[in-house]
Symmetry: C2
Subunit: 301 residues, 2 copies
Amino acid sequence: MTSVFSKMRLTYGITPPKLATPEPRRREIAAVQAARIASLPIDALIVYDLQDESSRTGAERPFPFLQAIDPLDYAYDYLDRVARPKVVYRSVASLQAPQLVDWLRRLHGLGGATVLVGAPSKTQSVSLQLADAYRVRKAELPEVPLGGVVIAERHDARGGEDERVLSKLEHGCSFFVSQAVYSVTASKNLLSDLYYRCHDSGREPPPLLVTLSPCGSKKTLEFMAWLGVSVPRWLQNELLRAHDILAKSVELSAQSFAELYDFASERGIPLGCNVESVSLQKAEIDASVELVRRIAAITGR
Amino acid sequence: MTSVFSKMRLTYGITPPKLATPEPRRREIAAVQAARIASLPIDALIVYDLQDESSRTGAERPFPFLQAIDPLDYAYDYLDRVARPKVVYRSVASLQAPQLVDWLRRLHGLGGATVLVGAPSKTQSVSLQLADAYRVRKAELPEVPLGGVVIAERHDARGGEDERVLSKLEHGCSFFVSQAVYSVTASKNLLSDLYYRCHDSGREPPPLLVTLSPCGSKKTLEFMAWLGVSVPRWLQNELLRAHDILAKSVELSAQSFAELYDFASERGIPLGCNVESVSLQKAEIDASVELVRRIAAITGR
């Protein structure tokens, strides 16, 4: 099944406002965001389902975790004026199967796609495993387009992410979205192994969106490290020494993507880009918009 | 002291023939090599002093270690027709200080420079430590130009290689030569830290030659890994899957150098290149010559 979602090559990824945000303010934020998104040369909007992830590491979270508005509500109610295909992330660990079915049904009625996400660590108590969530979708609502998360750092550390991608394809995923990418080499390593694994089994490499996340401060960089994002030493130096860290981050992110895009194009891998905008600060939002424009230029739109 | 050796930007690195090679054959090899070197657009010739290095790892050495002709003899006797500045490597671990002084005196009489090399591991018994060898040279023959070895992999694994370079500068090194480079990121990480460390202490970054070593077979690639050279997974795939591994290796090595050269040029680091030719096979020698020509083109000679 080829849907609009497996043809996405440029997306914009956002997080909903926090639950603590008063309703009128939420509507204001959504209205401004909707107007901004309308001007972007993107194929789809991605709305994240933020998790705490504190179970993943003993280190202190650089930013506190605050519960956000339900991403499906935010995508289709608050942002109802955004007339773009929407991908809604859904963390499944705390769900029961019937809840997931209801949720998928609702999403299907709205025409959306989803990326189902498992628990961030094995220590977290889980009522629904990701593999079971995949089975539920396949049995009950296979018509909802499904994406999978892909993490190059996991491949560098212990391998097997290429096999995981193929297994997710068999479980129904038709596109992939990476974690934030700062290490071109880690991503090349994964793309290369994935390419040859597909090649050897006579299949086409699946569409994959490389996530870029502009970094506006030392603290954001520390948060990336906390999340498990690998940032090469030289790039860290460049950002921390930059006169304007945000502008430098946009420049280096665009360079990284250009390098990966060339690498993927030479191999016929349908590589796209997901630009994250997860901050409420104007400078950081502007940087994400600028990055979307640069990526659009690189991919020749 | 600025010598011709601290202005080197392109060198050719060779190993002498094995001791087991009969004298007439040695002379033949040297004659062919001398003619080849005469045609290369290089600033200097580097002659290695190969060590066993088996003490460095428990893994089996993919190629047996065979004692070679003394590198100084080879550089100035066998290759006396090569009218280029010469850098002769010298492993100091098994020497006594007076032997090193005699050797440096001989080298000085011939107008050469040296790279003194310490023991490959801490388990090897050592009669002369590298730091002591540096002191001996500084006290007795400071006029012999001295280079230092630099290893980006060491920096990635435990840091501090940038400090080691500055310390070697203080011990009298006026240029640096890397171990074989296959990981652009590891080299960028080191160059970046070194650049900022020099910048912060108000000094110029020292001249540094990036060593490239064409790889003609799976076994050579395994040997690189055995030597501690980090080869990114994607590059390993490209080499092992290539129709012509040697041609692919030349292409990728030139690409890697071009990337590092741009990176260094933007920061005012005097980066050069040392192309290794450590094989006796014609195809591998031709590849090294081709690589020298490509590097010459990249650096605009």
